[in-house]
Symmetry: C2
Subunit: 245 residues, 2 copies
């Protein structure tokens, strides 16, 4: 059995998230179908993490074990021929036997793109989020510093989670503005369910003046969801990079 | 009755084209539903032309007559609140009684965006077409000159058309390259069914060396579809502008 690592990009709009489901198209489901079609083997694909319905990826990583011995270059081409055009394998490489896309991951980077104010762009309605109110960039940048480091992020996690340990570490959080588009780039040890979307929703409310640094601190110290902002829509979220060091 | 002109943009991916159909979502259908919901009037919306399934618009124009007297600014806001986010009204203005979005149109501009070579981008799979072969820009630019002017474009029209007059005038056709992305911008008096997509498909085959200027001239002179290139996919096509002079 060979252990194979793949890096892939996908547009999440048409899928019910990463995780395989009966009767609904998912990224994992499409990958496993393509692998079965190609090799006849029932291959389980492990992703670095589950992305939600409507969330995109430019650098998702996954791995799987297969018996088939075809050259990896051919495997990449053959998989891309079988996959829908909104899922593309970018890289295929051999992995050590103990490599596991989820358990071996050390850092993940997500980006969130949101247009602030103005009129929503129909052409980007599924790849760019929208926030109708003006915001203060410096206020958001200042508040974002409070999130850096190891914290209990229960207050920034959807109630639907199955997690029991809410400690995560955020290594870096940058906010940049290009015209009306704000780009949040956050790198962490891992992320809870909806965590990035809630962080962005909270920072935007701070930027708008509806929440303060104090609310953000309370969300961190109490773990209560009510102190944080709304969960932003999935369409602005991109899994950018997974690092294994 | 007021005659009202609207300018709108839409992402065509989720729609079965402009023209209203039973049981399938279309742009015209969504507009008429929103107008009915807002006014209780059965209002027929006339577009400058039908865009096909999967084709986008950044400057589509339409008009309709309504009895409702609400201020136009409110009409724009109310319609955008009712419409799906991938259809946005950009402008609403009063029109003269005889203004007709289709019959009054004098010039239309379409743009076609295609990535040439390299790997297809999953994130842009529904807004950017793909052509896997390298092409020669100058060859395409030279051939494109043959299409300028008044011609019988039957050879560049889908067999499914209901048209009987195939004469159209092309005022301008520009091809620009930004890295791997080629942008075709074509302005004409009007376009036949699939005409822009067939023109682009033909020029790309010329650029690739599979068709020559001679084939293009034959397609024009004989009106036979077989001399022209393939119909390119709809996702690269944008209705950019409609002019009424």
């Amino acid at each position: 059995m060979r252990n194979i690592k793949i890096t892939l990009q996908y547009k999440g709009t048409a899928y019910f998230g990463w995780q395989k489901q009966n009767n609904f198209p998912t990224i994992q489901g499409k990958l496993e179908e393509a692998l079965f079609c190609l090799t006849g083997e029932q291959i389980e694909v492990e992703g670095s993490g589950r992305t939600d319905r409507g969330v995109h990826a430019v650098g998702q990583v996954a791995n799987f074990c297969m018996q088939n011995t075809m050259p990896l270059k051919n495997l990449k081409t053959a998989l891309n021929d079988l996959l829908p055009i909104d899922i593309r394998i970018v890289k295929v490489s051999p992995a050590k036997g103990d490599f596991h896309a989820r358990f071996s991951a050390k850092r993940k980077t997500y980006q969130y793109f949101v247009q602030v104010g103005g009129q929503r762009n129909a052409l980007k309605s599924d790849v760019l989020a929208f926030f109708p109110f003006e915001v203060d960039l410096e206020k958001m940048q200042k508040a974002s510093k409070l999130l850096i480091g190891k914290h209990n992020f229960k207050g920034f996690c959807s109630a639907d989670t199955t997690a029991t340990n809410f400690e995560r570490e955020i290594f870096d959080l940058q906010i940049k503005k290009r015209g009306r588009i704000f780009v949040f780039t956050v790198t962490g040890s891992g992320f809870l369910y909806n965590m990035v979307r809630i962080i962005v929703g909270t920072l935007l409310e701070v930027g708008r003046g509806k929440l303060s640094d104090k609310d953000l601190k309370l969300a961190l110290s109490t773990g209560e969801r009510k102190y944080a902002g709304k969960t932003m829509e999935p369409c602005g979220l991109y899994l950018k990079k997974v690092e294994y060091l």
